[in-house]
């Protein structure tokens, strides 16, 4: 998925406008694409999404910590589908703290599960005003159509 987007952008099969999204964004590394991919396949997708974001956005930042040491959104491993709601909130306090510390208004994620869970946790423990978008959603919004 990252490779495909990188291919489209670098070969100019799609063109992007960096000025459309004005909000300050923050990027979340999903466990599966990053840390776990690195452990299982020897390559973690850390660099690619950041490069893609650079093509789409003017202002974005990283969470602390990030990449292999990043915190999970709290919805992984099927936990999102369990009735352990309080526990998930406890778990996600780290993620919410990271998001707040970044002072971003928009969280960009390249994972359906993370997207759903971060949205739910922001709604549950605030600030609900922070938007959550897919990485490809950001790309789609920046698309320049002739």
């Amino acid at each position: 998925m990252f490779d495909l987007l990188v291919e489209y952008i670098s070969t100019q099969r799609i063109r992007l406008d960096r000025d459309r999204i004005k909000k300050k964004a923050v990027y979340h590394d999903p466990c599966n694409y990053g840390r776990k991919s690195e452990a299982l396949f020897g390559h973690g997708y850390f660099h690619e999404p950041r490069w893609i974001l650079n093509q789409c956005l003017e202002h974005w930042t990283d969470m602390q910590p990030n990449r292999a040491r990043q915190y999970c959104c709290g919805g992984g491993g099927g936990l999102m589908l369990t009735p352990y709601e309080e526990q998930r909130k406890y778990y996600s306090r780290r993620k919410i703290e990271q998001i707040k510390n970044s002072r971003a208004e928009l969280v960009v994620v390249p994972c359906h599960s993370c997207h759903g869970h971060i949205r739910a946790m922001l709604d549950a423990q605030g600030p609900a005003s922070i938007e959550v978008k897919y990485l490809w959603e950001v790309v789609a919004e920046a698309l320049v159509m002739d």
């Binding site: 602390q64 910590p65 040491r69 510390n101 970044s102």
Partner: protein, 823 residues
């Protein structure tokens, strides 16, 4: 005997200095190469050392009444008439065979001519090469040309050739012509060397290289070496590297770069726990809140557990948890460490500064020539050792090198008992330490009287579980029995010792009650130790020594119990035996593995407080775990409780990871009560030396004169001095012998030079001087009762001169002028 041996010593740190001085005192011509501009190695950056919390490097210098040794701080420089010192040079290669070796030395550090330099610092200004400071691990950037050492005056500059590009800008900028870059390519070749001693130490782990705790990203995550630099330059407060704000909360993280299979670092550096405890203790004095994150607090020396207790009393907080990461709280300049101090409990703690406790670089290897014939490598150049063990190892390595070098020459039978100095040495105890001491002395042509209480030689070495080590002791015993210069008195004991160094008079009593008087110049006390007694409820209980002997006795055909429980630190590492015995953990791990190898389905459980393995013995612990030994930590406040029932042992203990109290049943219970000195207090009384509350004989200086007792001429080693494993007992024996040998050789040369003399006409025999002397150099003459000065023991401190009410104790004439000058 052939002429003086030519010896090369590599490394000018405390180990190299010690080896070089020992060899010089033994009559060798010594060449000492040190790659930095100044001696002292790592100690250049360590201002204060545990457990005294101050420096004492100068105490490693031999007492030299002739004044020929440069009796000054060795961090500033070093001079010795028997040693040719090559600062700034590193040995690149060694060729040839013992007796005819040649070494190539290349420049690593180029010194600026300090006679010409006027400290204008233009050279530093123009130097384009920035590099990490040699005296920290890079937090304080310096230039390729910079101060030779933090303690040197500003006109003592040096150029690190590892970093220098020889661009010439510094030379061009220097108006005094103090920089000669041509000397950068200078090489020295030393020929006709008889042997070489490698004592250059190990490289320390740089966290950036291994991306430990993302230290490169945080300016306030530093190493213990960096912290030493911060501490040295600190005033009232310790300042943070990032913003110069005073540090109020600091954390130490142990085992950075070690005890990890991921980093291929399955080792323990053995001293980092103590370094962190020291740093935190010192930081407490500046009212900093200090927390140490650790897994096992490895306080495995005689006095180290007490040091830990003192640190705790000072308010140092110990948190048993290895952190996963250090987080930067944005905009607040705070380092946050999430951690789980007990199972099921997670906390965040904020700090201004985090210190990574680093040890040996996992990738470090000794130089290729380390294993070559004629190159003797000090154990301190294979693993990290604390100062005392470095000094012992260096001395012992020098002794070994000297011994092997001399094997070819015939023993010098010339009588040494001339004048009042007797060259004979009395060695008490014939275990691994005593035997090693005796044979080292004999190899140096010193006659030895070896007194052993038992009817055979070898001591505990004979029951060692390792066949190789048993063989080593048997060989030592056989050699001692055969050696012409070693006179053995088995089944005998020393009952008294009087007189000064060089002229001791001791009485020996054998089993039949016969007594004999011997005259000797020095004594080595190696009376060993034994297992501390355990209260045995019944025969299914064994101490670790018995159990290991039993299970190793029949090799691979022995029998093992189906279940065994070990309880380590049983009634030890707490008052009244508040010290780690250092041998039990390794022995327990080996016994666990042997049990499993004899009976793979056996259930092996170990209750422990801290696993105290060091160096590569860490691998034993890793193997024991991976082979299924279950380790359960306990706290001394709640030790597991024991009960014997129906022929089985029941142990009640709680597994903190499961938070459940469980009852464990086993066929065999093994307790590790530690070791106690065998005859410490008695030896202390007979030889008039100090001993600890536990009965261990004490040194003059625990760091720098580890095998010398407070009384000149009396040396101590092995288990009698402190708990040591077999190999270290051997090293201590050799080191003690080396010191005795040096003292006697030097004593013969310079015995007429004294600092203090007694004017008998003025002396009222009040004896105040006897009490005042910290070196036990003052004594009453056996026959006349007159107050006398032992020239070998006297350091010229003047305590007796000051205390004497009659001015009968006085400085010797040649010293008087100097003393006034000093005043």
């Amino acid at each position: 005997m052939k002429e003086a041996a030519r010896a090369l010593v590599m490394g000018g740190g405390v180990s190299g200095l010690k080896a070089a001085m020992d060899l010089a005192r033994a009559g060798c011509s010594v060449f000492l190469a040190e790659k930095q501009a100044v001696p002292a190695g790592l100690l250049l950056g360590l201002d204060r050392q545990f457990p005294s919390n101050h420096c004492g490097l100068c105490r490693v210098l031999p007492p030299d009444p002739s004044g020929r040794t440069w009796q000054a701080c060795m961090r500033r420089g070093f001079g010795h008439p028997g040693i040719e010192f090559f600062p700034g040079f590193e040995v690149q290669d060694i060729q040839g065979s013992p007796g005819n070796m040649s070494a190539t030395l290349i420049r690593q550090t180029l010194m600026v001519d300090s006679d010409k330099c006027n400290a204008c610092m233009q050279c530093v200004e123009v130097c384009p090469v920035h590099m990490p400071d040699l005296f920290s691990t890079g937090q304080i950037p310096v230039k390729a040309i910079s101060r030779a050492a933090p303690h040197r005056p500003p006109h003592h500059l040096a150029i690190s050739l590892e970093a220098c590009t020889l661009c010439g800008r510094c030379r061009d900028a220097c108006r005094e012509g103090a920089i000669d870059l041509d000397a950068a390519r200078e090489e020295k070749v030393l020929d006709n060397l008889d042997f070489a001693v490698l004592a250059s130490g190990v490289e320390y782990c740089l966290p950036e290289v291994y991306n430990l705790y993302q230290s490169a990203a945080h300016a306030d995550v530093i190493t213990t070496l960096d912290f030493e630099a911060l501490l040295s330059s600190a005033g009232t407060d310790i300042m943070r590297p990032s913003d110069g704000r005073p540090v109020r909360r600091a954390a130490w993280v142990q085992c950075a770069g070690s005890r990890s299979l991921k980093l291929e670092a399955d080792h323990c550096s053995g001293i980092c726990c103590m370094i962190s405890l020291k740093q935190a203790s010192l930081a407490r004095e500046k009212d900093i809140q200090c927390s140490i994150f650790y897994m096992d607090m490895r306080t495995s020396g005689r006095d180290w557990q007490k040091y830990l207790d003192r640190a705790r009393e000072k308010g140092v907080e110990l948190i048993r948890c290895r952190p996963h990461s250090i987080e930067q709280v944005p905009e607040e300049q705070i380092l946050r460490i999430p951690h789980a101090p007990s199972p099921g409990n997670q906390q965040d703690r904020d700090f201004d500064l985090v210190v990574l406790s680093v040890g040996r670089d996992p990738a470090w290897k000794p130089p290729e020539y380390a294993g070559r014939e004629g190159v003797f490598t000090s154990p301190g150049s294979r693993r990290v050792l604390d100062i005392a063990r470095s000094i012992i190892a260096a001395s012992a390595t020098a002794a070994t090198a000297l011994g092997e070098d001399r094997q070819e020459s015939l023993p010098d039978q010339e009588a040494k008992d001339q004048d009042q100095v007797h060259s004979r040495v009395l060695v008490v105890g014939a275990g691994p330490a005593g035997l090693s001491a005796a044979l080292t002395l004999a190899a140096g042509n010193i006659p030895v009287v070896l007194v052993e209480q038992k009817d055979h030689l070898g001591g505990h070495g004979l029951s060692n579980i390792s066949p190789e080590q048993r063989k080593e002791v048997q060989d030592l015993a056989a050699r001692a029995m055969e050696h012409k210069l070693v006179q053995v008195y088995p089944s005998a004991a020393v009952i008294s010792c009087t007189g000064p160094a060089g002229g001791f008079k001791s009485r020996i009593r054998d089993s039949s009650g016969d007594e004999k008087e011997i005259l000797h110049g020095a004594a080595v006390l190696a009376t060993g130790g034994r297992a501390a007694p355990v209260a045995r409820q019944e025969d299914r209980t064994a101490d670790i020594f018995e159990y290991s002997r039993r299970i190793f006795a029949a090799g691979n055909s022995g029998e093992a119990p189906e279940s065994v429980i070990f309880i380590l630190c049983h009634n030890t590492r707490q008052e009244p035996a508040n010290y780690c015995s250092r041998v039990c953990c390794s022995l327990a791990l080996k016994s666990c593995l042997q049990t499993l190898s004899l009976r793979p389905e056996a259930e092996v459980t170990v209750f422990y407080r801290d696993i105290m393995v060091q160096g590569d013995d860490e691998e034993l612990y890793t193997r024991a775990r991976s082979e299924g030994v279950r380790f359960i930590p306990y706290s001394p406040d709640a030790p597991p409780s024991l009960e014997a029932k129906d022929g089985k042992i029941r142990v009640k203990g709680s597994d903190p990871y499961l938070s459940e109290e469980s009852e464990y049943e086993a066929e065999q219970l093994v307790l590790a009560p530690g070791v106690v000195p065998a005859a410490g207090s008695e030896m202390a009384r007979i030889f008039n030396v100090h001993s600890s509350a536990e009965g261990f004989l004490c040194e003059a200086d625990a760091k720098y004169r580890p095998v010398e007792s407070g009384r000149a001429g009396i040396f101590i080693c092995g288990l009698a001095r402190n708990p040591v494993p077999f190999k270290e007992a051997v090293l201590e024996g050799r080191a003690a012998a080396m010191s005795a040998l040096g003292l006697l050789k030097q004593g013969l040369d310079s015995r007429l030079q004294t600092f203090v003399r007694v004017k008998p006409a003025l002396c009222s025999l009040c004896g105040l001087c006897l009490e005042a002397c910290p070196f036990k150099a003052r004594y009453a003459h056996e026959e006349t009762g007159a107050m006398a000065v032992d020239p070998l023991a006297c350091r010229g401190c003047g305590a007796c001169v000051a205390v004497c009410p009659n001015k009968a104790s006085a400085w010797s004439e040649q010293l008087e002028e100097n003393v006034h000058e000093l005043n």
